[in-house]
C-alpha cells in the first residue's frame, strides 16, 4: 500500500513535469485549500485541463472575494458564469458555474455550486465584479435563480411578463402535444 502511494506520488511528479498545466492546477488547488480549507471543496477534477471544484452557496461569495484579493496566483478576472439544471438530482436541481481567470498566470478555475430548486437563492457577486450584473440577470431570466443583494434583478433577454424560466429542462423545445415527432428522431 505504502509502495503504491509512493509510486503514485512519483507518477504525479513526473506527470507534473511533463504537463505544466497539471503543475499549475496542483499549485492552485493547494492555494485554495490553504485559504479556504480543504472541506470547502468537493468533486475536485481536471476535465480537459481546467481545475474544477464544487463548493457551497454559503461559501461562494467568500471564495470569489478571497481570490480577487489574493496576490499569489491573481485570479482577478471573472470570465463568465451560467446556470445549469439537473432535474433528477434531488435537493441539488439547480446550479451555477463560475469561470475565473488569472490574466497574469494564465490559469483558469471553474467553481460550481448546487442548490434546491425550491430555494434558489445565491449571494450576488455584483459587489465584487461589475461584470456579474447582467450575467446574474441572465441566469435569473433563464433559470429563476434569485441573487440576493443584486441591485436590479429583472429579466434581461426575455419579455418582462414571461411567467416561467425557459431554460429549465421541463420546457421542451418542440411542442409537447405533437405525436408525429418523437425524441427518437429529434435529439432529446
Amino acid at each position: 500500500m505504502a509502495e503504491n502511494t509512493e509510486e503514485s506520488a512519483a507518477a504525479q511528479e513526473t506527470a507534473a513535469i511533463q504537463d505544466p498545466q497539471a503543475a499549475k492546477n496542483a499549485q492552485l488547488l493547494a492555494l485554495l485549500h490553504r485559504l479556504f480549507g480543504a472541506d470547502a471543496f468537493t468533486d475536485v477534477e481536471e476535465p480537459y485541463g481546467m481545475l474544477t471544484a464544487t463548493t457551497t452557496r454559503e461559501r461562494i461569495h467568500e471564495i470569489i472575494a478571497g481570490l480577487q484579493q489574493e496576490m499569489e496566483l491573481q485570479l482577478h478576472f471573472l470570465t463568465t458564469m451560467c446556470g445549469i439544471h439537473y432535474p433528477e438530482n434531488e435537493g441539488k436541481e439547480l446550479g451555477m458555474v463560475y469561470h475565473v481567470h488569472s490574466l497574469v498566470n494564465n490559469l483558469r478555475l471553474r467553481l460550481k455550486i448546487y442548490f434546491p430548486i425550491a430555494d434558489p437563492t445565491v449571494p450576488t457577486l455584483t459587489d465584487l465584479y461589475a461584470a456579474a450584473n447582467w450575467m446574474e440577470r441572465e441566469a435569473y431570466d433563464f433559470y429563476g435563480i434569485i441573487f440576493t443583494g443584486h441591485p436590479n434583478l429583472i429579466r434581461i433577454l426575455n419579455v418582462e411578463d414571461m411567467d416561467y424560466y425557459p431554460m429549465r429542462r421541463e420546457y421542451a423545445l418542440e411542442d409537447g402535444t405533437r405525436e408525429d415527432k418523437t425524441d427518437l428522431f429529434f435529439g432529446r
Binding site: 469561470h99 490574466l103 431554460m167
Partner: protein
C-alpha cells in the same frame, strides 16, 4: 492676505443675499432646473445604434445624466435551441451571433467540439482556419472603424473599405459558398480544400488591400475633425475595464495586453509572428487605433499562413465525426453508414465538460459545453464578449453629450446578434 480676507467676506455677503432671494422663490435655483430633465429614447431602432437595442437616456440639456440600456430585442434562445441539436447543427447558430465575423464563431465552436472529442486537426486545416479567421477579424474591424467614421460624419472611408470587405466576402464564397452567415468548415477540419480560384482571389486581395487601408488611415488617423470628435471620448481605465469583464480590442485600448491568440494559442497561432497593439487611455480614439493596427497584424498573419501553408489533408482522419465525401456515400458501404450516423446524430460523444475560447472580433468568445454523452449538448453556454462589456456603456457616457455617446457606442463594436444571442 488682507485682500483675500476682504474677498472672502464679500463673497459670503453676496452668497447670503443670494440665498435669501432663493428662499423667497424669486430666483430659480439649480434644484429648480434639475426638475426639467428630458427623457430621450435612443433606439430601439435608430440609425446610429447599428442594431436593435434601446438606451433610455436622462438628459440635462445636451448632457447625459443617466442611461438605462434595454437589450433582448433579437433574442433567439440559441442556448435553448442548442440543447436539442446535434453538434454539427449548432454551427449555423454561431453564425448568427457576431455576424460581422462568422468564421471565427464557426471555428471556435468546431474547436470546442474537437477538444471534447479529442480530435486532432492536421496542420493544413489549422492554417486554413487561421486565414479564414483573420479575414473575418479584418472585416469585423473594418466595419466597426468605418462606421465610426460615418457616425462622425465621414462617409468616404466607409465606401472605400466596404469595397474591400466585398472582396473578402467573395473569398468566403470561394472557400465555403456563403458570404455573411458562413457555416464554414466542419468538426474535424475544413469542408473542402481551398480552390485555386480562392487562393488567387486571396493573393490578389492581399496585393490591393494594403493601399486602401493606408488611404483609410490617411483619411482618419491624424484628421483634425475626426480627432476632435473621438479623443478623450468615452474613456475607461484598465482597472474598470477588467472589473467589467472587457476583452478584445476594447480591453487592449485600455492598456491590458490580453489576447487569447497569444495567451492560449489555438489552431497553430503560436507559429505566427505578430504583435498585440495596446492603447493607453481606453478612449474612442484608442479603440479605433487598436483596431486599425490589428488589421495590419492580421494581414501579417494571413501572409505568413499563406506562404507556409503546409501540404496534407484538410480535415482530420476521424470518420466517426467528419462527414465522408458525398460521392463515397453512394459507392461505399462504410461511408454510407458513417454519413447516416453523423446526420442522425448517432455518434458517441464523451461525457464531460469543456471550456474553449477564441479571440473573436470583439473579445474573448467562449464556449462552455457540458456533454452527458447524448447526441446534443446537455448545456451550452456562449460567453459573448459584447454582452458582458456593454454593461459598462452607461458609466462610460454619463456626463458626456449625446453625440459623444453615439461615437462611444459605435467604437465599442456592440453587435446586436451577439448581445442577445
Amino acid at each position: 492676505m488682507a485682500v483675500n480676507d476682504t474677498l472672502e467676506g464679500t463673497r459670503k455677503i453676496v452668497e447670503s443675499a443670494q440665498e435669501q432671494q432663493h428662499n423667497s422663490g424669486l430666483i430659480p435655483t439649480l434644484n429648480d432646473f434639475s426638475q426639467e430633465l428630458t427623457t430621450l429614447n435612443l433606439g430601439p431602432t435608430h440609425p446610429a445604434t447599428h442594431g436593435i437595442f434601446q438606451n433610455i437616456l436622462q438628459m440635462d440639456g445636451e448632457r447625459i445624466i443617466s442611461g438605462v440600456p434595454t437589450i433582448g430585442y433579437i433574442h433567439r434562445a440559441f442556448e435553448k435551441i442548442a440543447e436539442r441539436r446535434p453538434f454539427y447543427q449548432i454551427t449555423p447558430l454561431t453564425d448568427r451571433m457576431n455576424y460581422c465575423s462568422s468564421p471565427i464563431n464557426n471555428m471556435g465552436w468546431h474547436m470546442t467540439v474537437e477538444k471534447l472529442l479529442g480530435v486532432t486537426v492536421p496542420k493544413r486545416a489549422q492554417y486554413m482556419r487561421v486565414i479564414a479567421m483573420e479575414l473575418a477579424r479584418i472585416t469585423d474591424h473594418l466595419i466597426c472603424n468605418s462606421i465610426l467614421g460615418v457616425d462622425t460624419g465621414a462617409f468616404t472611408g466607409f465606401l472605400y473599405v466596404f469595397q474591400e470587405r466585398e472582396k473578402v466576402y467573395e473569398i468566403y464564397e470561394e472557400i465555403c459558398g456563403a458570404r455573411l452567415t458562413t457555416n464554414m468548415g466542419r468538426v474535424g477540419g475544413m469542408e473542402r480544400d481551398f480552390s485555386d480560384v480562392a487562393i488567387q482571389k486571396l493573393r490578389d486581395w492581399l496585393k490591393t488591400f494594403p493601399a486602401v487601408m493606408k488611404e483609410f488611415e490617411t483619411l482618419f488617423n491624424r484628421n483634425r475633425i475626426f480627432m476632435d470628435r473621438v479623443v478623450n471620448v468615452g474613456p475607461i481605465t484598465a482597472e474598470k475595464a477588467l472589473n467589467y469583464g472587457f476583452t478584445g480590442p476594447n480591453l487592449r485600448a485600455a492598456g491590458v495586453d490580453y489576447d487569447v491568440r497569444v495567451m492560449n494559442p489555438y489552431s497553430s497561432y503560436e507559429d505566427f509572428d505578430f504583435e498585440i497593439p495596446i492603447g493607453t487611455k481606453g478612449d474612442t480614439y484608442d479603440r479605433f487605433m487598436v483596431r486599425n493596427e490589428e488589421i495590419w497584424q492580421s494581414l501579417r498573419i494571413i501572409n505568413q499562413a499563406l506562404e507556409n501553408l503546409p501540404e496534407g489533408p484538410f480535415h482530420a482522419d476521424a470518420p466517426h465525426y467528419y462527414l465522408p465525401p458525398k460521392q463515397a456515400v453512394y459507392q461505399n458501404m462504410e461511408a454510407l453508414i458513417y454519413h447516416f450516423k453523423i446526420i442522425m446524430g448517432e455518434i458517441e460523444a464523451p461525457v464531460g465538460e469543456v471550456y474553449h475560447s477564441v479571440e473573436g472580433g470583439n473579445g474573448e468568445l467562449g464556449f462552455y459545453l457540458v456533454s452527458d454523452g447524448g447526441r446534443t449538448p446537455y448545456r451550452l453556454h456562449f460567453r459573448r464578449p459584447c454582452f458582458i462589456y456593454y454593461q459598462a456603456y452607461p458609466e462610460m457616457v454619463v456626463g458626456s453629450s449625446l453625440s459623444d455617446a453615439i461615437v462611444t457606442l459605435s467604437s465599442m463594436n456592440v453587435i446586436a446578434g451577439e448581445l442577445d444571442a
